[in-house]
């Protein structure tokens, strides 16, 4: 099992580390840390280290039949810079099919340090 220790960092930021040759990105979501292997499920793009962050755009059909697009509260999305595949940052799930997930890594907070394991 590969493991690396890094200092904690501020909410909203991310750090990418090397775990025995595998690039893993750690995100501080404010209330917790999450980490995923930095490899898009599509063509292997650097979705985590280079991906752009977006609110979760969704849509609803109103009672009058109109379609209303809106940003879902609390939704955090990362999009791969290569082709735009979007993932739920909290879960790593692909938005087009939530059964498809970024490979997660384990993050443990230990005082001022984070232990990242794969």
């Amino acid at each position: 099992m590969a493991e690396v220790s890094i200092p904690t960092f501020a909410a909203g930021e991310r750090r990418t580390v090397d775990l025995d040759g595998t690039s893993v990105t750690v995100f501080n979501l404010g209330d917790r840390y999450v980490a995923y292997v930095d490899r898009c499920l599509h063509q292997g793009g650097p979705v985590c280290s280079r991906g752009t962050l977006h609110p979760l755009l969704t849509a609803a059909i109103e009672p009058d039949g109109e379609v209303r697009e809106y940003f879902a509260e609390g939704g955090r999305v990362i999009a791969c810079p290569w082709h735009g595949w979007e993932y739920d940052l909290d879960t790593g799930e692909a938005l087009w099919n939530r059964a498809r997930k970024l490979r997660p890594a384990t993050v443990e907070v230990d005082g001022d340090a984070l232990r990242v394991r794969l």
Binding site: R50, C80, H83
Partner: protein
Amino acid sequence: MTTIVDVDAHYLEDHKVLASYLPEPLRTRISRTAPGRLLPGSTGDRGVSGRIVRPDIHYPQEPTPPEEIPEIMKFLGVDISVQLPNRMLALSTTSQRDVAVGLAEGYALYMADRVMDPKNGIYSMIIAPVQAPRKAAEIIHKHAGNPGFAAVCLITAGAEPPLGDPFYDPIYQAAQDVELPIVYHSAGSGIDDFVIKGFQRFIETHTLGFVLFNMATIVSMIVQGIPERFPRVKFAFQEAGLFYIPMLMFRLDAEFRKRRAEAPLLKRLPSEYMLDFFYGTQPLEEPPKIDYLADVFKMIDGPNTLTFSTDYPHWDFDMPSVITDLPFLNDGEKAQVLGGNAMRFFRFEGR
């Protein structure tokens, strides 16, 4: 004192400032749109409101410096690159003959002077202004001797009449005379500019446009007998994926069996001509079962007709892994698709 009123002056707005006055989610959508594409000529925001970005290169914010091409080739893992100037993809849509001819001639000079470097694998194509076939033929003859020009390119989107029309004969004759193949390059996310108006999203126009214009071109040039009339020219079709190819092969065959009298020049089934053509792989479809893709490869003789292309840095580019990862091709077939077929088509060997 005279008061002077200027009733027409122009202010170039900062679209990000403008965005702050808009309701959500339009505010975010516009604020993350690439500069210059606030209200594009089509429904096109290729970057999907900032999701797809190219932070390591100049595109799309700034022009590509020629010295960036080798770096891009290294990133993509390609050894030979046929570069087609980005802005020329709209060339066929203008009705201004002098502008089209001037741009085509200027681009040929520009690409030869600044961009092409065949010794290091960087090639381009002579772009023919379809609006003025005789002028196009002159441009082809003038530049064909430059080893950096690997083909004559016709931009299919917007070409009227369709590209099998005898109107274009001087272009085909010139390509045959100088022994260069013809690449039909699709475009057409602007399908809503000149075919059906009213689409709302880029995903709609882009899904349809590229396929439509390649299909229109194939139907026109086969039924009008271009392969019979210019038998020494090889033809390739770019940037519409694969699945439209078998559909068109078998649909056109069925029509031909019933309506052969409308295409008496043809000596073979349309699908047989189509199997003589080459097709760029990008954007390779991603069906839920790999068997579906394998079946299409079989139907179109993919190991011998397909030529890998990235389309980089465009938003839907493909890496070579889309071919190297295919489980149903052997190593030799992968090598053919990744490079061998293109070497044969463009005749890079021996140039």
